[in-house]
Structures are given as C-alpha cells and as structure tokens.
Symmetry: C2
Subunit: 164 residues, 2 copies
DNA sequence: GAATAATGGTTTGACGTCAAACTATTTGGC
DNA sequence: GCCAAATAGTTTGACGTCAAACCATTATTC
C-alpha cells in the first residue's frame, strides 16, 4: 500500500500508468525511477552547460553538437535518426544552433533536396567543454555503482527496452 | 569505438552529454537507454489510452487521474508535488481535465487560496481502464526480467537517482 | 518524356513544460 | 490592528516537441 505501480510479489498491484508518479519522496518502482533519473540527469547537464557559458541551449542541442563532433557533416535526416527526434524538431533545433553561430547549413549540390549541417569554429570549440561535462556527469552517475551492477543494469535495461 | 558515452573499462571515454543519442540502432549506454525506455513506455501508454477512448489526454493527465484514484481530493499543490510538475503546468493539465469532464475544481471555504480537485463520475469510470492498461504495461515491461534482476535494478537505479 | 511516386526539409498549429511576474488570500511580528 | 512576509494559484511568454500539411526536387514507371 502506498506504493506506486507495483507491489512486488503481492496480491495487489497498484496502478501507475505513467512514469512520473511520486509518493512521499520514495521512489518505489522502476518505471518512475527511470523517468526521474532521466529528468535529474537532464537538469544537471543543462545547469553544467549554463555554468560553462552555454546558457541558451538544451540537451537536444547538445545531442546534435555531439553527433557532429563524431561525424562532422550530417544531413537533417541523419540528425533526426541519431537523436531520435522528429525532422521538424530538428529543423528548429538546428536553426537555433545556426542562429547562435555554432553550425552552418548548406544545400547539397548533387541533390538539391538534402541539407548538410556542419560545425563552425565556434561550434568546434565546445567539444572539450562537452567532454568535461560528460565525464563529470558519468562519474557522478556511476558513483557507488559496481562494475557488476553496471553490467547487470545494462543487460536488464536492454531487455526491457526490447520489450517495447 | 562508435560507442555513445562510455566505453567501459577502456582508455577512451566517448562523449555523450544527453540521454537520447542513438548510434546505428544500438543502445550502448545506460543513460541513453534510460531515456529511450522512458520514451517508449510513454508512447505505449498513450497509444493504449487512445485505444480505450482516451484520445485527448497524455501521460501527465494520467498521472493526475491516478493520484486522484488513490486520494480522492487533492489541492493543486498536492498534485504538483505528486506528479513532479510545476504548479503552472498543473493548472493547465487540470483545466484540461475539467474541460473534458473528468475533474472538478472547487475553492476551499476555510482558506480561499486553495483549490480542491476531485474526480467526476466520468473520471471515476476511467479507473478500471487505467488498471488494465497499467497491468498490461507492467507485464510487458518486466517480461524476461527475473526477480533478482528486478531487485538489483531497483537498487542500482535508486543509487543512481540519489547521486544527483 | 510526361505523369506519378518517393524523398528531404520546412511550415504550421497544437500542446506540455517551465520560470517569472502577478493576484489574492492568510499568517506573523510589532 | 496593521504592515510585511508567506502561501496558493493563475497568467504570460518562451521553448521543445510532434503530426500533418506542404513545397521542392529526384526517381519511377508507362
């Protein structure tokens, strides 16, 4: 009783549709835990980015920049696939990064439909900052988590991911 | 190489700031796995709700209804706390549910600042539907996951949650 | 080779979300 | 008792997000 979502191994199974339910500061079920961890991680990253001077961008912009650190020229569709966001969303996100001077857009010469996105020098300068933020975040994330736990976590989460 | 975020136990630590990075259909790190699971679960729930006639509402509305199934009268601030959303967000969400006929709002007589939210009969009718959707979702979620994994998952995720 | 389909991006409209400013009540200190 | 601080909700403005409609260009098909 008082649980969110699932009373393990008991008769009663409480209802919790979505992933954000919170009962007196306890986090009783995995679904909502997942949701809340994601939220905390995102907030943490945004605040770290703001500290480093990236006040105006959010995690999705970060995903795009990160993708371009790894692959310096991507089409809009590429980005959409990589960051798991609708193409119209990507249009908005990339346009903002262009406006801020981090990216450039350029139409392909062979196929006039496709647009290539690339980093500007100002955009490239962000890479080390991203790296340090990422490292700090991962250190914090995995603090107190043993390698065994990490492996099991990854395995179990992969299973769950594939259940949907 | 080609990893997102973390190459376990190796020298290179790839960068992945946010939680939605996707590399050729693989899900290589826990942070992005978490984010994607959350997304899939949410989509699944919304689509199940739509199937059951709840076309117009999303998971956050579901959280509010769920909270009211458990506690039939809540203030706006209660709801905000329970579903982890800003109070202004709650105003919008509750107003929509009122507009759809699922909830009522009523000012407290003793303290004219507070507003009580409660289910209408039409709202109460949703409870069994929610219960079945929730059960189905949890069955799917935990399919192939052993009790041990579940426990370890919960423990590890709790640790991670508390790291932020 | 012209009509049709497919593809890549953008636009538009709706919505959830937050933060900040605001309103209206209550509570506390003096 | 009155003024200041606290509290409960709402409003407003900005933004990320998606889906659907749309526009351009390239591929197909006959």
């Amino acid at each position: 009783m008082g649980d969110c979502c699932l009373s393990h191994n008991t008769v009663t199974v409480d209802i919790c549709l979505t992933s954000n339910y919170n009962e007196h500061m306890e986090t009783r079920d995995i679904v909502s835990l997942i949701s809340k961890i994601r939220e905390k991680v995102n907030r943490h990253i945004v605040s770290e980015m703001a500290k480093q001077g990236m006040e105006e961008i959010g995690t999705s912009h970060g995903d795009i920049l990160y993708a371009l650190f790894k692959t310096p020229r991507l089409t809009m569709a590429d980005i959409s696939r990589r960051i798991n966001k609708d193409k119209s969303t990507v249009t908005a996100l990339v346009d903002k990064l262009v406006r801020l001077g981090y990216l450039t857009k350029e139409r392909d010469q062979e196929d006039a439909r496709v647009v290539y996105v690339a980093l500007t020098p100002k955009g490239s300068e962000l890479e080390p900052i991203f790296e340090s933020i990422s490292r700090e975040m991962l250190d914090r994330f995995y603090a107190n988590v043993t390698d065994e736990e990490r492996e099991l976590l990854f395995g179990a989460l992969t299973k769950i991911y594939n259940n949907f």
